[in-house]
């Protein structure tokens, strides 16, 4: 069940250009939280910002009730967030959405494909997979060298390829280039990133089973406003809500 609570900021670090990692202490239990879920964060405490911002859960320490998020400053909301101080409290809705259903899957080997700010949720996913004995291969795509983060963290969990659009770090190109070059074998793929990337990934891997975590602008974040719908193949009016039914979907469940 989603609840509203306050998280206390215990640490803020700029871990790559415009990219911040924040460690948050919860007063509510995080035991039910699954990889791929997100928190919906209120920005400021006055009326200037009417909409909350969805940010994925990048890591969890359930016994310590600690959560990590990683976000990139792209506009006023994330900018305000980045300026918050240690000790400040974030008003959040938690846990939002439906994550990666890894407990229901038969998987020995998984391919994780993340792009930009789609990388963070894959980290907690990778940790959970490895803990279940799954072998993980990771492909991370970034704009350029300055934006790369979490490479070592992923490398400690499995093979990790980094690709940058401009080739300033790792190989040059898109995540799909790496998939094509490496042709890795796996049972399931799990991908998160901007929609154009997910579209390319799901086309490239159209013969494989996989899960995509989508990004869409949100209003409520809890399923009431219909801001975040994505069409599904059943009919011309069928849909899923990214905030509630997603953000994680089976690759063929939605029309990108």
């Amino acid at each position: 069940m989603i609840t509203k609570s306050l998280l206390t900021i215990e640490q803020v670090n700029e871990i790559a250009l415009d990219t911040f990692e924040m460690k948050l202490k919860a007063t509510v239990s995080l035991d039910e939280v699954e990889p791929g879920q997100f928190i919906h964060i209120r920005i400021g405490n006055d009326n200037a910002h009417q909409l909350r911002r969805p940010i994925s859960i990048a890591d969890l320490d359930k016994p310590k009730q600690m959560m990590t998020i990683v976000f990139k400053v792209v506009g006023t909301g994330t900018e305000t967030l980045a300026q918050a101080n240690v000790g400040d409290k974030l008003d959040i809705l938690l846990p939002c959405g439906t994550g990666y259903p890894i407990d229901k899957l038969e998987v020995q080997k998984a391919l994780l494909i993340g792009g930009g700010i789609g990388v963070p949720p894959l980290y907690y996913l990778a940790k959970q997979l490895v803990q279940k004995g799954v072998e993980v291969i990771v492909i991370l795509g970034f704009q350029s060298k300055e934006y790369v983060f979490y490479e070592e963290k992923f490398a400690s969990l499995g093979v990790c390829h980094v690709v940058t659009n401009d080739g300033s770090y790792g190989s040059k190109g898109f995540v799909t280039n790496v998939i094509q070059e490496q042709s890795p074998t796996f049972d399931y793929y799990f991908s998160c990133g901007p929609t154009p990337m997910l579209r390319a990934v799901s086309q490239t891997l159209s013969d494989k089973k996989g899960y995509l975590s989508l990004e869409e602008r949100m209003g409520c974040g809890v399923g009431t406003c219909f801001a975040c719908v994505i069409p599904t193949p059943e009919s011309s009016t069928s849909y899923k809500k990214v905030c509630q039914d997603g953000p994680v979907f089976e690759a063929d469940e939605v029309i990108l």
């Binding site: 909301g77 219909f226 801001a227 719908v229």
Partner: protein, 312 residues
Amino acid sequence: MNNLAVELPGLSLKNPIMPASGCFGFGREYSKFYDLNKLGAIMIKAATKEARFGNATPRVAETASGMLNAIGLQNPGVEKILAEEVPFLMQYATPVIANVAGSTIEEYEAVAEAISRSSNIAAIELNISCPNVKEGGVQFGTDPTLASEVTRRVKAKSNVPVYVKLSPNVTDIVEIAKAVEAAGADGLSMINTLTGMQIDLHKRKPVLANKIGGMSGPALKPIAIRMIYQVRQQVSIPIIGMGGITSAEDVLEFLLAGASAVAVGTANFQNPFICPEIIDALPGVLEKCGFSSVEDAIGKGHEHATADISGA
């Protein structure tokens, strides 16, 4: 005695607070946050005759103290809403107000007829002001003749009171309000969103796929207050007010302007508990401002108090 109660055509409200149409779905999600019995009423999401997918995404954008939306009346169609959504709300002792939309007068009539066959709906909110659909919607709300015609014909098909929801995108809101009153409206619901746009500097195009969307939230409040105040002076049917309400103080401002009850929209997204929080805070705010009840405050912003010479 409950000093928050309000009697309106078809609606015995335990308090004047209801979630606004389109900002509360059909109640299921927020029912997990709190007991919907707490609410004065519930305005459910717009119904059209057939299912609609609505507009492409992005459908929302944030603006200063407000937001834009262009959902585009996505809904499963009136029959499905009555069969699959409304029954859930029947477990609550809270009246349900159905928002009726359409592209043609015939569609409005058909939706109103379907609703009138149900016994679960306490009132209709006739949405002649949706700015986010290509056809129908807002044009009925900006032309007094069309507004009057659709009101008259929907009234004829309805067995529950009809509150006509007005668009603020007009030169003279009083003219429209008078037209729908004359056409038999039982009440007014005002205001819907003001059409606006935001442009993405990098993509060099409007943020919303629909380009234009409706602005709601606190930014809209002064416009809503002005329009309600003006309409209250020339029209006698009751007004359900809305536009940027985020606090019990805001509610009182709407009551003073002439609203008899209010709806809270966008604020639900910022704080899912906003409606019960406002309901809890309202008695204190009424008292602090010297009102004995909600009914006592309605329209009181039209009488002019005199200044005092107290030292503070």
